[in-house]
Amino acid sequence: MKVLVPVKRVIDYNVKVRVKADQTGVDLANVKMAMNPFCEIAVEEAVRQKEKGAVTEVVAVSIGPAQAQETLRTALAMGADRAILIQTDQDLEPLAVAKVLAAVIAEEAPGAVIMGKQAIDGDNNATGQMLSALLDWPQAAFASEIVLSADSAKVTREIDGGLQTVDVALPAVITADLRLNEPRYASLPNIMKAKKKPLDVKELSALGVDTAPRLTVVKVAEPPKRSGGVKVESAADIVSNLKTNGVI
């Protein structure tokens, strides 16, 4: 079975983002970029499924600028077999991303899509579910365990208050939650090998997908700052303070 893994290039999660002074967005100039952490988990899962023999080919796909090739090389170094970049400098909304992925899927015909539950830039947590709806495929969002068989997947999902297990007929869209696995670090030999793996670049415009934005960003602002309070000397001080202020 072929698995398609969409990956996104985002600001590295260790970097503190700064809002631009003119409030048009966050400052991306000279900021370290990396693969979205949830996408890393999805790549790791697809590669592990391949190592287990449940998957025969892992195809990583990214939609973004030329530099997203680096993100795809990371996926290849982790063990993906080949990669596709749909190149654009436009910042796409989740609905547009889902439509572009649906067009890629029409060509690639994978048995499953495994992708991160959300990207840590827009924090939308929507693309996988939208893709599943557009394709009329079943979805299993927020997976913490995936058991693939030939024509279905048994997925344990993180839900409020506990876990739910569902069985989805394949092809399906599965989105990865935090505890699905711990992604590996690519070894140097694998990084070298990844440079030789196939990476196709296609222009977004060649796909003929409507990617017009539906939302206009009016402004991006800093959240209100919360000022730190006082340091106390002992646990007893905490209790007396809380009591005085009627908190407990």
């Binding site: 991006v220 309070g229 905490i238």
Partner: protein, 314 residues
């Protein structure tokens, strides 16, 4: 303009996040209906009818709705949207799983985790783990919105809306429910608790987390939370996770034990009324948001805190 609110419930009782989402809906329109989709959820529908400001309650029943299968709920909601201009859903794990499906079927954007309604098409939402607030204006005819309920006040009681039973929709398609394990707890629910006690990676093990955090939470009548680091390390289950990738809480009192205060954690708790932090690293970022900070090892500080609470009659 008419707005449909998706009710958050567990088939037995209606969750407070529904009341808060109704408040967000009333900022858009006076015509607010609530959809209760479940199994054996008659009491939930009655409770929803009692929310002040609600015009009508739609009540649909089926196994798949009661199991919270996203495909079943989306296939029920999508055709209903012919009669509404906006869908507002609390940003719970269920809301997050089905709402984008509805948006895609309607060919509109989803506006995720709205924290403020500016006007009928303009909304504020956090991005980058709450490090920035984005104001967006939607050009779509219908708005599909998930609501960060903790940012809105709960609508009151005293309503007497009519309850209309509707068909359950086409069902879950090619998804089959297998089973579900909900952690039974006598403690209040994390997202709705007045007091939350959270532990971080400093706990070092699941046993230590249980030994330290849980008794303190029980003494305060609090819900238990955890940082992502503690969840990643396996010290606490994922549904304890407070932060941008977990639950967002805004209790009266938030007690952070051995939590450094990573940005992603602060995004999930910085709207708490009073924050207490105990951490042995005086430079930990948690102290920048804490109202009361104690620089101490939790191993000695938590027992002292327990004693002081006992002395204060807790």
């Amino acid at each position: 303009m008419a707005v449909l609110v998706f009710a958050d419930h567990d088939n037995a009782s209606l969750k407070d996040s529904t009341h808060k989402t109704v408040t967000a809906a009333l900022a858009l329109s006076g015509d607010v209906d609530v959809l209760v989709a479940g199994k054996g959820a008659g009491d939930v529908a009655k409770a929803a009818a009692g929310i002040a400001g609600v015009r009508k309650v739609l009540h649909a029943e089926s196994d798949a709705l009661g199991q919270g299968l996203a495909e079943a709920i989306a296939s029920l909601v999508t055709p209903l949207m012919a009669g509404y201009d906006a869908l507002l859903t609390p940003a719970t794990s269920l809301g997050k799983s089905f709402s984008p499906r509805v948006a895609a079927k309607l060919d509109v954007a989803q506006i995720t985790e709205v924290v403020e309604v500016v006007d009928g098409s303009t909304f504020v939402r956090p991005i980058y783990a709450g490090n920035a607030l984005e104001t967006v204006k939607s050009s779509d005819a219908k708005k599909v919105i998930t609501v960060r309920a903790t940012n809105f006040k709960a609508a009151g009681e005293g309503g007497s809306a009519a309850i209309e039973t509707i068909e359950a929709g086409p069902g879950p398609g090619k998804t089959t429910f297998v089973d579900q394990q909900i952690v039974k707890s006598a403690r209040p629910e994390l997202a709705a608790a007045k007091i939350v006690v959270s532990g971080g990676r400093a706990m070092g093990s699941a046993e230590e987390f249980q030994r330290v955090i849980e008794p303190l939470a029980d003494k305060l009548g609090a819900a238990v939370g955890a940082s992502r680091a503690a969840v990643d390390a396996g010290y606490a289950p994922n549904d304890y996770q407070v932060g941008q990738t977990g639950k967002v809480v805004a209790p009266e009192l938030y007690v952070a034990i051995g939590i450094s205060g990573a940005i992603q954690h602060l995004a999930g708790m910085k709207d708490s009324k009073v924050i207490v932090a105990i951490n042995k690293d005086g430079d930990a970022p948690i102290f920048q948001v804490a109202d009361l900070g104690l620089v101490a090892d939790y191993k000695s500080a938590v027992p002292e805190l327990m004693d002081a609470l006992a002395a204060a009659g807790k």
